[in-house]
Symmetry: C3
Subunit: 672 residues, 3 copies
């Protein structure tokens, strides 16, 4: 893969810019205000297909020429979008069979956003054509420093049951399995008499009388990811045929169910991510941190772009909370502290019309006199002081396993409990690590994990034999592995591992899971750990020891008296198993013991003060974010870059404030 320089000097700053929503005279004001705000990069043309190709095959680039020229004249670089996330009305009219069809057979029409079927050959051809025409025209435009293909693949269009999709799924399966016998075996079709005798009978898991075959659904999730990715690659290649700038597409690291970002990140030149706070979450900055770490991890540690976030409220949740003064700065700096070298927003100027007019913007409806615009200008100014941070890297000693295939599988119908979820467990373990001040990478279970002191598997329901072997080897070689309940249950075909639940981890953990024992409804139980009773709920398991020592024991509940938390010494390492759904607080003493085994040192200066370090060639950069309502005292020696002041050992970080310190470089380390 080509190595590309960073698209802008220093940290990129800006947002989606949709001048087509405004009269021409507004554009000049826009550009002047962008300069005032320190904007150096904008994303243009994301939803402009109907304007760029008003009739099939007829292109009108004049207005876009004007926009790019104007931006360039003002020193603002452009991330140029392909508009294929919103096909024009004429496309729907000309190719009605390209429409996405829901599981229940409803064909989705125009007048909103969202692509048509990623399996439609007509859509693929039209998308490639418009991407190619854009690339041909703007390959050499000096404003264009990056290509932005499509928008947020996987939302709102994910699974598609159109005839084109069914046909493509069949071909994909043929490719994957080769023979019907292999497919029948993989899907376990002998169950419920689903054996296929002809490829022509194999279809998508559309509406059925009862639950569809879970392996079929899992493969359909893989296929959905594949088709979306193939759509991306086709556009990317059409661009590369003409243009030399890097190509990205904006991920949604912690909010998409439909894209396996480990695979996607291999296809883009620069990883970028969109992130929005979830209003009901009082600690939504935790979700933000997860997304940022996950994005950096799929980027394999390379700098990435925060392509979209919001200056204040969004509009598409049920009850949309606005950001309070300073919150945007904290959010932006957390992204930066976790590896983002671009801080971008949706969008520059708030739309007067359409579905997102209540989405906040850099320039809100209230105009330049508003708090939001003042903070936008201030943030631009601050980021301008951080140019030297660009390119520095984050390191972690701890890896948290994250596998979209396991997420897909655990979310299928008819699991032992709907109340035990992939994301809930990832969040709980991540939050424990965050509150303890332990930096983490995310990793795929089959990754080389040897650089990490500790590997945490919060939700590895689906775990291949290869992954289990990888984890076992990791322990044998001296690693510390912490596995959460309901892990290692099924293989890549959603078939229970031979030997029973958790069988492939038996060597690593020294324990067998005889039976799953969900805790009834509103009941709770406890785990007794070193004399303390930790409350738990929803889930317990009947463990049978096979070498492990008991560290926690169930008190109450269906597993009363049985082992709850175990520790197993294997080779040079240690395997821990937590067989129940402990909350964030209850995880604290468990993790403390695990840290001790792993040689990991918690560093949190206080709950709610977030410290992140980026390692540059010559310096380290300590990014500090105070989420608390009181001041925090940091122990730090270095220069605070935002205020250009020197910290000589101690620094008072005001309530809600942020700081970035240039410090002396530490020795390399961490997982990557």
């Amino acid at each position: 893969m080509t190595e590309f320089g960073w698209p802008t000097g220093g940290i990129s700053y800006g947002g989606d810019y949709n001048p087509e929503q405004w009269p021409r005279h507004v554009w000049d004001e826009d550009v002047a205000l962008m300069r005032q705000a320190g904007v150096n990069l904008v994303s243009v043309g994301i939803f402009s297909w109907a304007l760029l190709e008003p009739r099939e095959g007829e292109f009108d680039f004049g207005w876009l020429d004007d926009v790019l020229d104007l931006l360039h004249r003002n020193g603002i670089a452009v991330d140029l979008g392909t508009p294929t996330a919103a096909p024009p009305a004429w496309f729907y009219d000309a190719y009605p069979h390209a429409r996405v069809v829901t599981r229940d057979g409803v064909a989705l029409g125009p007048g909103s956003r969202g692509m048509v079927s990623p399996s439609s050959p007509e859509y693929r051809a039209a998308a490639v054509r418009v991407a190619g025409e854009l690339a041909r025209r703007y390959a050499d435009h000096p404003a264009v420093v990056l290509w932005h293909v499509h928008n947020e693949y996987g939302a709102p269009v994910g699974e598609d049951f159109s005839p084109a999709a069914v046909a493509a799924f069949r071909e994909w399966l043929r490719e994957r399995y080769g023979t019907l016998d292999a497919l029948n075996a993989a899907w376990g079709t002998a169950f419920w008499g689903q054996v296929y005798g002809s490829w022509e009978h194999v279809g998508a898991p559309a509406a059925t009388a009862s639950t569809p075959n879970p392996a079929q659904r899992l493969d359909f999730a893989r296929f959905t990811d594949h088709q979306l990715r193939a759509s991306f690659c086709a556009e990317r290649d059409a661009i590369r045929a003409h243009a030399a700038q890097p190509v990205t597409t904006n991920f949604m690291a912690h909010q998409s169910w439909n894209t396996d970002l480990w695979r996607w990140a291999q296809e883009v030149d620069i990883v970028s991510d969109d992130h929005y706070l979830w209003s009901p979450d009082r600690d939504a900055h935790l979700g933000l941190a997860i997304a940022a770490d996950l994005t950096r991890s799929v980027a394999r540690g390379k700098p990435w772009m925060l392509m979209e976030h919001s200056t204040s409220a969004v509009n598409w949740q049920g009850h949309n909370i606005a950001k309070r003064p300073g919150e945007m700065h904290r959010n932006a700096l957390t992204h930066l502290g976790r590896g983002a070298d671009a801080i971008m927003f949706f969008q520059w100027r708030a739309s007067r019309s359409g579905a997102e007019k209540f989405h906040s913007a850099m320039l809100p409806h209230a105009g330049t006199g508003s708090r939001v615009f003042r903070e936008v200008v201030d943030l631009g100014e601050k980021l301008g002081r951080l140019a030297e941070v660009q390119g520095s890297r984050v390191r972690a000693d701890v890896a948290v396993l994250y596998d979209w295939e396991s997420l897909w599988a655990q979310d299928l119908e008819w699991r032992p409990s709907d109340e035990l979820g992939f994301r809930e467990r990832v969040r709980a373990y991540y939050e424990r690590l965050w509150r303890d001040g332990v930096p983490v990478d995310f990793a795929h279970p089959e990754d080389d994990l040897s650089g990490y002191r500790l590997v945490v598997a919060p939700a590895s329901y689906l775990l291949t034999a290869a992954a289990a072997k990888n984890l076992t080897g990791y322990v044998e070689q001296g690693g510390t592995l912490l596995v959460s309940c309901f892990s290692g249950v099924v293989d890549e075909h959603d078939a229970v591992h031979e030997g029973g639940f958790g069988a492939p981890l038996r060597t690593a953990l020294g324990v067998a899971v005889e039976e799953l024992l969900p805790i009834r409804g509103e009941d709770t139980a406890h785990v007794e750990l070193d004399g303390t009773l930790l409350p738990t709920d929803v889930w317990s398991e009947h463990l049978v020891l096979d070498g492990a020592e008991v560290r926690g024991t169930y008190r109450g509940g269906p597993a009363d008296g049985l082992p709850a938390v175990t520790r197993h010494a294997l080779g040079a390492g240690t395997g821990w198993y937590v067989s129940t759904r402990l909350g964030v607080a209850a995880l604290a003493p468990v993790l403390a013991a695990v840290y001790a085994d792993a040689g990991v040192t918690p560093t949190a200066p206080g709950d709610g003060v977030e410290l992140m370090t980026r390692h540059g060639a010559d310096h380290d950069y300590l990014v500090a974010v105070n989420h608390r309502e009181d001041a925090a005292t940091l122990e730090v020696v270095g220069t605070e870059l935002l205020s250009d002041t020197v910290a000589e050992g101690s620094y008072r970080l005001a309530p809600g404030d942020v700081a970035v310190f240039r410090t002396s470089a530490t020795a390399p380390g961490g997982g990557r």
Copy 2:
């Protein structure tokens, strides 16, 4: 428009009469019992299409002749229905494409109730034909004093996505906008790349991958209202071609989303309304009062008919509460006190079969020995004593703004909060006024408001520039205006007003809304007003003063310390703004201050005692309803008509009781 006399002598009393559900011998008993009950008007033939036109184009009026003759012989007048709310099964069979189609593409079949597509030419033709045939036959029948077109337009059939509807919508849009450019501008289609290049591509907002264009949805709501209204007008005109009696159709003032009654009321000769209590509401008589005032208001103050209410329980709610002894009388008298000159029920005799057999009736399943029938007879007797009230009018000094277009717009997807609703705010402000004993009219924001001392705008999210100008002028000329939060936000195209939220009201209110600050989930905050802390939730705003004085300040919540309630002196008047969602109790001190500005005097003799005055040519009539469980003492001089007793200054109104006093006339006044 022709001025019609009232259809009956005195107050009309009766209900829907469906003799076709019963054998012939029952009819004679029916009529005898109607006479016993004082019934003078019944609605006939509402659902009789299949009997009147058993095969397409073949009419059978014999049975209806018998019914009308029988009723006429017994002195009971007839409100004759057109049966088009329930097309016969043969119609569905002959014209399957006329079926209503849901947003998801499901075509709705026969065997229930509800019209087919109001956009279907075949339906229109058939409806006009049967209405015309009825009018031709019964134009001169002496029993027929009123025509009752259809039934409850807008329910259960509202939005329709059939091919006929899509085609008609396109034509309606062409008519409305003239050019595609105008439509693209109005809908803001540049957003999300929805620009239309051909009228043929413009459709209804059926199922889409994400949220449809809100301006398109708003126009589709207008179109839905228009098509239903056009259906009504076509039938009305077919009747007028033959018959001279007035024509009505029964509205559902506070329960329909699909009809803009300001427009509908202009098309009928007499306004009529159906009203049913909402069982979960412990103060369902408040909803009743709103509906009655709204009905009178769309009738522009003229007498109106309560076409349907219930003697006791209904059947179509989840858990249907029966009325308790006396409650029917209270309900009936509240309608009357708020301007109704007809008190009618659905239905005369309870059906043994069908979907509504558990709906109460004037003659219940339990027969004439029942409490309900005794109360029906008693009510008939009482209403007979009120003949002189017929034709008198209600006056109010306060107007509450109510605009269906704003209701439609605020209910669309992706607003800042689903928890802030049009109806909830209308109810809260209305309830405050009701408990304070302040009579109100409802008004459209573009109405002449100069006759009112106070105008309250509880939910004017959509407010046109013309309406804002109207309200500003009203204040300048000395009016008192009270505006609730999230008002003046968008124009008629659901586009945010230039200048930001509330910009068109900035002159009237002396305040700008910089940002919307919904209060998180279960949180509450307070408004400090004159030293008192008023609890609030769900909503706050960041206000910037532009001339107004601060009357209430946020304590806690995202707007802590900012202005919450403001008062602005403009010209001869005053503009108040309440930027949060205060409950009924918390509104009390705010309204008290507003009343003082407006010169409005609360008159409630006690919470739960409802006083309503109708003004006749020579006398006033004070209608009193005691919702309390203890007696109330009224200050009144006059003759209590129901008991024919004289009140010489004080009258004891027993718990749950009603009274109607003839008093001396007061001077004219009020909004109309």
Copy 3:
């Protein structure tokens, strides 16, 4: 009907066996372990259509020959299934019009389980063909002792709106009503103008704008039951053409809405039932007891088979609770105590793949070393000691009325309250009787009830005139009848009885129901009975006495001061009426009074100790199950068969334990 001997010696024990899910070498292990577990019967081939007929008309019985031979060689008998609950993928492909269509028009595809349309002629032909071929081949196979047609008719496929179903419904209606006039009268189509003028216009109650005609829906429920039953009968007859073994199909007594088991039980040679605990129910063994008594009752007292239950957790509920040690034994013995002579499981060996891999099995994923397998072996051993119990009968002095037609009718839209349900009331009255230790049969309201001392009608909303006459005669002849609220409301056409609610029971109960008075939302009221205040909610009625005495009076609520519970002496008997929804505890004093009238003696030795007696030719067998967490002392003289110990008057039943005593025979009695 032929009388068949019991399929196995002694109590049948085993489960579904699906060897096709496993490689051949596993089969030998299976059979060896079955022998270890005492298995003597397995159900084979339930979902094997795609393997038995891999292409249309081509049969492959080789593997099944092997399975049956292997089982037979090991002394394990076979219940041979017809595989028609899961048509092969080729069937869906060849006959797309045979697919089930939902009310909203969605056609259900393959890849799950569930039959196609029971009204499809193509399906019927294919099902009969495969059943016939199986019967031809295996009629004389010595392993086959029973035929198991299909699987759980009614789930997941119930109502079907396919074109074939609509056509068949029309024919069924023609057969039922003869003339359109009769249909129009029965359905009350005069209401809402639904009168049919042509059979061709009559359809299924598919999607409509408002509520469909309830009598049409009720008939559609009857039709659905009829079509499923006709499917069964066609397969049964195809088997009988070749084979002499008895034929069954597995019912779901308390969990199916779609089958009227009174009718079904007449069509099978041996009644069998599937039962699974409902996880949210902390007393799920109550639901089990209901199902078992209901199954025995539809079998008219003859021995029946528990065809499926689970060794531990199921997988298809939201949160699936595992059985605790001993619970499987208690469940099995309760079934046996209530008349089951077969204790079978789904399934023998847990599936690795497919939708039910988390369903427990006799041989779980954890293998033979597991608690579950140990208990399975132990249960087999215990049941082996109970061979002499086989064939003995249960007797009861009390009948609880249960009528699927009433369940269907009460569940239709637009009843007075969604919160008053058929099953809830059946459970409440049954639970009261269970806790009082009173054995019951279920009975149909038109059954001969003369053998019972007490008849309880918990939910007889639909009650025909014939049934009411039957109940009245029962009272007159000396019976005690206890009727719960909202009974006798409609006839077989869901039409309110002439004379009002409950009119046909007026003679029996001496009371008329003037009005239904649901209690509002969260409100409660009380019934004063003999000086005690019993709490109640949801429902009350306005009763008018017609001969009955008042035993309980409403205190509070809408019926305050009115009669709540009445007792009426008629002829030699007594009719009780409880007009509100009393809970299990509040029913205790009411039932105590009723027992006294009926001469029924409660026998419970303590809440949670379940005693059941089976009466054999020479002995009685007392089955005791202790659901408590402490030991119980039983008064019993006899031999405890499981431990082969003698009880000489007193027996200590350990917490959670079970026992079966051979005691001396008592005199015959009971309802049947």
